[in-house]
Amino acid sequence: MTEVEYQSISPSDFFYRNREIAGFSNPSRAIYAAVRELVENSLDACEARRVPPNIYLRITEVAASETGSSIYTLRIEDNGTGVPAEHIPHCFGQVFYGSKYTLKQARGTFGLGGTITILYGQITTHKPVRITSSTGGDIHEYEMMIDIEHNRPLILKHTVLDNKKGWRGTAVELQLEGDYSRSRYRLYEYLKQTAMVNPYADITFVDPRGRLYRFKRATEQMPPLPKPVKPHPHGIDVETFRRLVAITKARSMKAFMMEHFQGVGPTTAEKFLRAAKINPKAKPSSLKPEDIVRLVRAAREFNDFIRPDPSCLSPIGVELLETGIRKELNLREDDFLKVVQRKPATYLGFPFIVEAAIAHGKSIAKQSRGGITIYRFANRIPLLFDESSGVVWKVVNRNINWATYKVSSDTPLVVVVHVCSTKIPYKTVGKEYMADQPEVEREITNALRSAARSLRLYIARSIRLAHEKRRLNIFGKYLPKIAEFSAKLSDREEPPDVRPLLAAVSASLPEVEKKISEVPQIVGQDS
């Protein structure tokens, strides 16, 4: 008989062994994943503080390693909330520790990303991480490593510095192994697209070759901060339910339902509990595990809850999205851009909002080889991998018949889709693409169709304008010649005046020209 050894591993250990889940699968992917985690933490921190983000990112090469990839120092600095000194070691030295466990939309959710980045750096270089942060008072600087086995920080050095200039923010500096040249393109795309959906952010990036990339902010305006909300019964899972039962102060199940879930009043609570065959007066603590399973299942099937509250969502907004897209695609006045924001909808009890845009015109034609370029975002994070597996690709290539909108296969188009939700329907743990949840798919389809209706008008008008211009051009060429030779032919000195005829040809032109400069509005487009 073989001897079986039982052991428990710490979460840090687990992620150490399974780091590809978090995106650190290979050296070129690692740099991208690290930047992404850290940039997102910084953006979250700035938004929490309600200041337009200033993010400074620098990657420098330390030494080439024998594998062909190199060791890099990665430094990121922001002007966000900062982390209170006592939380710094845990936030950065322990997984599942964080400030974003409420039900509101943020980029980070798991209390994992920053730490796993640090962990990866530590594994590949054996160097400590340095965190510098201030919430407005003193500046605290930690040099630390992660005790992988025990999932806890190991502080090597802690310095407190005077904060004469009143700096607030966080700086993280770590070393990691990676392959910059192979991740360069993705990294640039990531930053550009991040800038697109965060037009109020100012991002500076200095790459290992000393090149400076600057994504300037185009506006100071930021989208409203999402409000934290209680969970909706449709979206609850057994584990969360169990935890709520354990901590609740409610004395009855009816009170429990009203207290911990959104939009549940006394009548609904009672109706629901009856349907779930649970006595409304029962004490929460008396629930057996099978009762909880039954309640969760019943909650999913019960149809009388009011719709999930979307105030926890933070869509970018039509105006900001337009600003961001114009800025990052370098659109000109006469290029076409239509941004559509759908009304909140829900899937499986999670509220979500779809925002979509279509851009088209000379500027797009210049930067593309024709056809449709897709930009995907989830909670304002660009999705860069597995495009053809995702729901947006499916909508663009299957659901929408572009010919209806006068778009041919080589018409240069940019399609932007942003889904924000308390729970993005990611298909994999890698958070790379969204699954085709029917409700989400339908909303994306409707959003794009609605934007495409404007596009159709624009294209029709462009065709008409080009046609009118060509006409005028042709008449402008030939009428004077006819005049000239008819005069010569009939022995006259001066040709007849063709201006009245040209005026008649171009009579309709200014009207068409004016129309093209305004994006067509279609009734009922934004719902």
């Binding site: 006409r471 042709i474 008449f475 060429k477 030939y478 009428l479 010649k481 006819i482 005049a483 030779f485 008819s486 005069a487 010569k488 032919l489 009939s490 022995d491 006259r492 007849p496 005046d497 063709v498 009245p500 005829l501 008649a504």
Partner: protein
């Protein structure tokens, strides 16, 4: 007499110039009246080309079309038409002649008027002919000269520098090229009693060498393939004005047959013009029945030849018995023969035996 000839030509020139000027006037005034200029002319589309059995040639029907500069597709050809009219008027004013090819090249460098190819400029010239009902030769625009004439015919030139000068067409043994000067000349006198039209240059040379013009008392004309309009107009004049019967001698194949027919009945392309067809002319060979009768060396008809022959059977110009018989025979024997085929019986056989026999047989 020669003064009268010259002044006739001069009058004709002036009247054509006036037509052109009037065209300019109409267009000028239309523009002045804030109207997009337009002109009317007979339609030359196939459904308006009708075979007139009395005239024995193609003519244009009554359908008129309007060339309108308001139309985006018409404005360019319309402009080209006005330019071409102006160009023609300049030719007449300067007493210069030009060729179809030259017109095409003269428009080069005229921005936006430039012709894409010569077919385009030829077409515009045909428009101008139709609109003014005047053959292009009267605008002093001639085709490339390839054909020639030889025989006892005295002509008098009307072209500048040669006015009143006379020449007998036997003076040059290669024949005299049928160009603008010859086309515009007057035919003063001839002793010939017939015209012999030959498709090929080599055969023409042979006939001149063999003094066939004396033997047959004929004027010889060489068409160099499908005959140019100026050549057809000369044949027409010799027949109509001088009463000379015309005999046409071509290769024995569908293409030779049609060269003869175009001289006799004109072409659909020139349906807008009169004075080009010679309905009295006779095709004397090489017939399909000659191939059999003279056991001529042959080649097989190609698919293309056969297709063409079948087209010809359906053509209204070919409805007379001779043509139908010969086409049927070609198709039956599946063979064709060139004029040169007679060489198998010696170089002079054609002059000594074949032609006399043929002319006799008529």
């Amino acid at each position: 007499m020669s003064d009268k000839i010259v002044s006739d030509a001069e009058k004709q020139r002036e009247s054509v110039e006036l037509y052109l000027k009037q065209l300019g006037n109409i267009i000028y005034e239309q523009i002045e009246n804030r109207e997009f200029p337009w002109i009317m002319m007979q339609s030359r589309s196939t459904d308006n080309i009708i075979y007139d059995p009395d005239l024995r040639q193609y003519v244009l029907g009554d359908r008129m079309i309007r060339r309108h500069s308001r139309n985006i597709r018409h404005i360019r050809p319309f402009t080209q038409l006005v330019w071409t009219a102006w160009f023609a008027r300049e030719l007449l004013r300067l007493r210069k002649t030009s060729t179809l090819r030259e017109v095409y090249y003269s428009a080069r460098g005229q921005r936006d008027i430039e012709f894409k190819n010569q077919a385009e400029s030829d077409n515009i010239i045909t428009d101008l002919e139709t609109a003014l009902n005047t053959p292009r030769e009267e605008f002093n625009i001639f085709p490339e000269e390839r054909s020639a004439i030889f025989g006892d015919l005295t002509i008098e030139y009307t072209v500048p520098g040669y006015e009143g000068k006379r020449m007998n067409l036997t003076e040059h043994p290669d024949g005299v090229m049928i160009g603008p000067a010859l086309t515009s000349s007057k035919f003063v006198e001839t002793s010939a009693d017939k015209v012999l039209v030959i498709e090929k240059g080599a055969m023409f040379t042979r006939l001149v060498e063999e003094q066939a013009h004396e033997q047959f008392n004929a004027i010889l004309i060489h068409t160099a393939g499908q005959s140019p309009r100026s050549t057809r107009s000369i044949i027409h004049r010799l027949n109509r004005d001088h009463g000379l019967p015309v005999y046409i001698f071509t290769d024995g194949d569908p293409w030779g047959v049609h060269i003869a027919m175009v001289i006799i009945s004109g072409s659909a392309n020139a349906a807008h013009l009169r004075g080009l067809a010679t309905p009295e002319a006779k095709w004397i060979g090489v017939w399909a029945t000659d191939i059999i009768k003279y056991k001529l060396p042959t080649e097989n008809l190609t698919d293309y030849d056969v297709k063409r022959l079948k087209e010809l059977t359906a053509d209204p110009r070919y409805k007379e018995e001779l043509w139908q018989r010969e086409i049927a025979t070609f198709l039956k024997i599946g063979k064709k023969a060139e004029l040169e085929a007679f060489s198998r019986y010696g170089l002079t056989y054609i002059v000594d035996e074949y032609l006399p026999a043929k002319l006799e047989g008529l």
